[in-house]
């Protein structure tokens, strides 16, 4: 008889109704985030675009946020999942602050917490569709790491998500060095972001650069990079291409 069968609550991930709840593909997405360690802390850059498929739908999305006193989180991928992650971290930092005991979660702890969250979601076949960059500095120790939607995580002196891995990392591998000044760090990030702007179709020319140091986090006002389109190779690009116009 049916009284023996246990009913699932409506929001569970088990049973036939569950499949319609799982994340299959992202809808509103952000593109690359690039970050590097410099003399006083971490510098991170991300544009302000939220794409809806191939449409550049939202142009004022802040994809970098401060977490607690010591960390900075940047995300690419599904924006709503990023907002969900911010909610989780909000709770985490709140409980941490409520202890009020002189101990606080640093960037390493937040990074590992996020790794656990992402990996556990991936194991349930219901991922948070994001690639995250977590940077910060605590007690003079700089930290920069990344977690992907399947839970792959690592730390490095410079990291990037998405297209940034293909276009920005090679530049950083050549030109990054220990103890960059703030100006040099920003110049380097802008160089990476410019290449991404030229070559990534989901990038928009409105970006912010965030920095986190022992003093705290500051995020720049949105601004645009100067671009140059008068390269001779761009004039008459289809000349000589048979069948093109």
């Amino acid at each position: 008889m049916d009284f023996m069968a246990s009913k699932q609550p409506e929001n569970s991930l088990l049973g036939p109704e569950a499949d319609s709840q799982r994340t299959l593909y992202p809808y509103v997405t952000g593109t690359s985030v690039v970050a590097l360690k410099y003399k006083d802390g971490i510098l991170m850059a991300a544009d302000m675009g939220g794409s809806y498929g191939s449409t550049l739908r939202y142009k004022n999305v802040e994809r970098m946020k401060a977490i607690g006193k010591h960390s900075l989180l940047g995300a690419s991928g599904e924006i709503s999942d990023f907002q969900e992650i911010l909610r989780y971290l909000d709770d985490l930092i709140l409980y941490d602050n409520m202890w009020d005991d002189g101990n606080s979660l640093g960037p390493k702890e937040v990074h590992n917490y996020l790794t656990r969250v992402m990996y556990n979601r991936r194991n349930k076949f219901n991922p948070l569709w994001n690639s995250l960059v977590l940077g910060g500095i605590k007690n003079g120790q700089k930290y920069l790491g990344t977690v992907s939607m399947i839970g792959v995580n690592f730390e490095d002196d410079h990291v990037a998500t998405g297209f940034g891995n293909h276009l920005a990392r090679p530049i950083l591998r050549q030109e990054w060095h220990e103890n960059l000044s703030f100006e040099d760090g920003v110049k380097l990030l802008e160089k990476c972001m410019r290449v991404l702007l030229y070559r990534d179709r989901s990038a928009i020319n409105k970006l912010q650069i965030a920095k986190i140091t022992e003093e705290g986090m500051t995020i720049s006002q949105p601004y645009s990079l100067k671009t140059y389109w008068e390269f001779s190779a761009f004039e008459n690009p289809t000349q000589g291409a048979v069948g093109s116009w």
Binding site: W99, D101, N103, S104, L105, E109, N112, Y113
Partner: protein, 279 residues
């Protein structure tokens, strides 16, 4: 304390506002063999007296490593202590897995206290009958806490619990102001001396005491018997050198020449006079 009509249940208040069962649980701590702890800015030392029931048996384990940066010494019902140590180890491991960082001892102690409090407010439970001296490190340095069966916890510079702990406490009260800046080795010496105070004249040997240390850059570990005996020996040598000038050869003992006469028995070893057994 005498029996009264309010002491059957932990959930019954007395008219004076006391929970007798909780107080009886704290009595159990006082009956256990002594445990002491002291700390400096960077190190914490725990020590305890380990008496075996008989010569045939081994002694009870009273000091537990909880994590690389936290250790605990117990007094009272050692079974309860073992179970709580397992809980603490679990909490530390889970925190480390999630955050890749050591659980701050201050937070562990609060979790432990909250766990103990639950047992003071459920009619089907009884309070844990064990007092815990928790030694550990967190961001602000070295800490020593005492967790009570009542669910209270206190931070200490130095403390002693268990039977005849008052003697140790008196010693520690005299010396505690120096502990903050003590070196690690001096802290260990003070711990051993405090243990000796609880023995009330019985000889101090490394076989009846256990010492453990944790500090910045030094993971929690129990000192091995040989090391402890060496430190004890340095005391004895110091004591003998200052000893009564009248008896220069008292230590060399056994002599056939009775004419040496006036060589009265120096106090010497009192191993034969064993103190009454603790629980």
């Amino acid at each position: 304390m005498f029996r009264n009509q309010y002491d059957t249940d932990v959930t019954t208040w007395s008219p004076a506002g006391r929970l007798f069962q909780v107080e009886y649980a704290m009595e159990a701590v006082k009956q256990g063999s002594a445990a002491i702890g002291l700390r400096s800015k960077t190190h914490v030392v725990l020590g305890c007296v380990n008496k075996a029931n008989s010569e045939l048996s081994s002694h009870q384990k009273k000091i537990f490593k909880v994590d690389d940066h936290i250790g605990v010494a117990i007094a009272g019902l050692t079974a309860d202590g073992r179970v709580l140590s397992r809980y603490m180890r679990n909490e530390c491991i889970n925190y480390n897995f999630t955050y890749e960082s050591p659980l701050p001892v201050g937070r562990l102690v609060v979790q432990l206290a909250d766990k103990a409090q639950v047992c003071t407010q459920r009619s089907w439970k009884r309070p844990y009958g064990v007092g815990l001296l928790v030694a550990g490190l967190d961001e602000s340095g070295a800490h020593l806490y005492y967790n009570c069966p009542s669910g209270n916890y206190f931070e200490y510079q130095a403390f002693a619990i268990g039977s005849r702990s008052q003697a140790a406490k008196t010693y520690l009260e005299r010396r505690f102001e120096n502990f903050t800046d003590s070196s690690r080795d001096d802290l260990v010496k003070d711990a051993i001396t405090a243990i000796r105070e609880t023995l009330q004249g019985e000889t101090l040997k490394s076989s009846i005491c256990t010492i453990a240390v944790v500090g910045v850059g030094e993971p929690f570990h129990i000192l091995d018997q040989g090391t402890v005996q060496q430190i004890i020996d340095t005391f004895e040598i110091a004591a003998e050198q200052e000893g009564p000038a009248a008896e220069p050869d008292a230590a060399t003992g056994q002599d056939t020449a009775v004419e040496q006469g006036a060589a009265a028995d120096q106090g010497g070893s009192t191993d034969e006079g064993v103190a009454p057994m603790d629980i």
